[in-house]
């Protein structure tokens, strides 16, 4: 019997695993991951991780930036805990060997980042997530008692009477379907960007953890808040990190004009100014793009309209020193060199602010079930996450969830429930049936594409009530059609089609919650902009959306008050002092 079973080997999952191993070496902790841990999507994070380290900075200022960045939808107690613990977590990473970039005197270096009033973003060149994940992964190797289920895909949480008892998972390599009993489960399965057609997210980011919890009755929170990052490469959606703008890059339209000045984001300065222009928050920058497009000031390409990111004035030296990966990516995937060419970019789905509803320790309403990382919604990101807050978030709340789960596992040493076996059996039969294959129905990929385009059309940067309402129907219909799809792979060994099918069903449910929440929120706030309700409405909607799965499988949305401690809702001001 496993004490703490962690689903997900990304930053949040690994941090949780170490926390458990350090809290109580007697506990049995396991990490189940559908890819080898170091392949998790944390590896792609580029820009950096925020944590106050002095330099005239204070915790309160980081709190304020985060809360105003999130358009006052953050739970402020969670933000305060997060901001207070983030620096320790980043130092902890340093003590584990993370190669943070340095000042000449040997201290860690920090860079500016969007929406942040002070320089507080720690970075490892522009491969921060890569170094962070590999440092964490290699550090877990030190704890040889951590059990790893690499390339196991969790398809179901075993929940009985409001308490979690383990998971059902498929071992990809052999096709073995196992029930893994556990006293506590931590979901750390990352985001769900793949619900959209054009995203910076990796193939594995299908929102599994959210759906697993949701299906067992746990509510999801704030699912309408989907972050568009303003600078993705047009064909692939590969991210050009915000660090490129923090180092001094400019966004220009087809006339070479720094258009952000037209959108209440400040006035252009030759060097970057904090919380201004290109260093504004992502929601505002992505919205500005849409307006430019409507004004006909974007450039049309085969992959949609673009503006340009101009790094030429930074010079080769600075580009190579601070953002070498940007150069590498542009060269490989766009056939251009940012030292001499403009980079075409357009907004791209990047991050999910919403997720499984948890408290400040990662606990969900299901007893023994915790969630951390992008899959969770502790509510530090509110309506719009600030760049470089997510990496420290996965560390802080990964650790917190780990400690809380360990504590729970120690005090609740119950016996294995019978239901575990029967639920496991049912799930196994279901999967085996799916693996028998089917020659009728549509292709998984076709349904997936239709879902993605539905979401892009309805739940993009700007949303309209009637389109959302139509999307509700379309998604319901797609879910219906997804009951019978063509499955050609019937083998047990590394059957990735079986996984794609599970992911399709999961994404459809997640898509429904996104659309339902977006339809329900009749205001504009942060990343959620309604064309039919253009103003923020604190009286009605200074509240989280909480979506439950109704017995008929459809989402049912309610509201939950926001926790305000010290920062009453105010106006979001960027570029004006």
């Amino acid at each position: 019997m496993i004490d703490v079973l962690i689903v997900g080997g990304g930053g949040a999952g690994l941090r949780a695993a170490i926390a458990v191993a350090e809290t109580d070496p007697a506990l049995k902790v396991a990490v189940v991951s559908k890819v080898y841990p170091m392949r998790s999507h944390t590896v792609s994070a580029e820009g950096g991780a925020a944590g106050v380290i002095g330099l005239g900075d204070t915790l309160d200022e980081h709190c304020y930036d985060t809360i105003s960045g999130g358009d006052w939808l953050c739970d402020q107690d969670a933000v305060e805990a997060f901001v207070a613990e983030a620096p320790e977590e980043l130092i902890q990473l340093e003590h584990w060997g993370c190669p943070w970039s340095r000042e000449s005197d040997g201290r860690v270096a920090v860079r500016p980042f969007g929406g942040m009033k002070k320089m507080r973003t720690w970075y490892a060149a522009d491969k921060t997530g890569f170094h962070l994940l590999h440092t964490l992964f290699q550090t877990t190797l030190k704890y040889q008692d951590i059990i790893r289920y690499d390339e196991w895909y969790v398809t179901k949480l075993v929940v009985d009477d409001g308490r979690v008892h383990g998971v059902v998972a498929v071992e990809l390599r052999t096709g073995r379907i196992e029930t893994i009993p556990a006293r506590t489960v931590i979901l750390a399965t990352g985001g769900c960007g793949k619900v959209f057609p054009f995203t910076t997210n990796a193939a594995i980011k299908t929102g599994d953890g959210m759906a697993l919890a949701y299906r067992e009755g746990a509510p999801l929170k704030d699912m309408e808040f989907v972050q568009y990052h303003p600078t993705g490469l047009p064909f692939t959606g590969i991210l050009i990190t915000e660090a490129a703008r923090a180092e001094g890059g400019w966004l220009i339209n087809k006339d070479g004009y720094r258009y952000l000045q037209d959108y209440d984001l400040g006035t252009p300065t030759p060097t970057p100014k904090l919380r201004s222009m290109e260093l504004g928050p992502r929601d505002r920058l992505s919205q500005a793009f849409v307006h430019e497009q409507h004004k006909g000031r974007t450039v049309d390409t085969p992959y949609g309209p673009v503006v340009y990111l101009d790094l030429r004035h930074l010079g080769e030296g600075k580009i190579d020193a601070r953002i070498p990966f940007v150069r590498e990516l542009c060269r490989s995937y766009q056939n251009l060199d940012p030292a001499t060419d403009l980079i075409p970019v357009r907004p791209v789905v990047h991050y999910m602010m919403g997720g499984v509803h948890t408290d400040i320790d990662g606990a969900t309403p299901i007893t023994g079930l915790y969630a951390a990382g992008e899959t969770a919604c502790v509510s530090i990101n509110g309506a719009n996450r600030l760049g470089s807050n997510s990496l420290p978030e996965i560390l802080v709340f990964g650790r917190r969830a780990g400690i809380a789960a360990a504590e729970f596992a120690r005090s609740h040493r119950g016996a294995e429930a019978v239901v575990v076996r029967s639920q496991g059996e049912d799930e196994r039969r279901r999967l085996e049936r799916a693996r028998e294959g089917s020659s009728r129905g549509e292709r998984i990929a076709d349904l997936r594409e239709q879902m993605q385009h539905t979401l892009e059309g309805a739940a993009g940067i700007y949303r309209a009530g009637d389109v959302l309402a139509k999307a509700v129907d379309t998604l319901a219909e797609l879910r219906e059609r997804s009951q019978e799809v063509r499955v050609e792979d019937t083998s047990t060994a590394f059957n990735t089609e079986l996984i794609s099918l599970q992911e399709l069903h999961i994404m459809l449910e997640i898509a429904q919650t996104i659309v339902a929440c977006a339809l329900n929120r009749q205001e504009s706030r942060g990343a959620h902009q309604r064309t039919d309700f253009t103003a923020r409405d604190d009286d009605a909607y200074l509240a989280h959306s909480l979506v439950h799965r109704a017995p008929d499988g459809t989402p049912s949305v309610g509201l939950l008050p926001v926790t305000i401690t010290r920062w009453p809702p105010g106006e979001r001001v960027y570029g004006r002092d």
């Binding site: 071992e171 052999t174 073995r176």
Partner: protein, 132 residues
Amino acid sequence: MKAGDTSDYRPPRDNLWFARTRNYTIFVLRELTSVFVAWAIVYLLMLIGAVLGGSLPEFAALAAGPWMVAVNVVTLAATAYHSVTFLNLAPKATVVRLDGYRLPGWMIQGGNHSLWLVISAVIAFFVLRGFR
């Protein structure tokens, strides 16, 4: 965590691996220069033996045999190839830092090759003329 599933495919040993890519072939050729290094030493020992034993003319006659010349031409090529590759690869093991700035490989390589030329010249000088 594995089910002991033995149905993986394990490719058999590829006995012609060194012919699969140009680089492998170059590598094997590089390694095979060692045979000629050994031969050069044997030849050198024979020469020394002849000098010390006073039978240099006989040795010269042997050395002039067409087969011998052919072998030695190949040996020359092989040892020269050895020199180039070995001196080029040497900087890999030695990372030289000056003031935190890493000395680029080509500088070390250039140094090595210059040294090679100088030593060759010195040896030739002593063999052919010496200080009389």
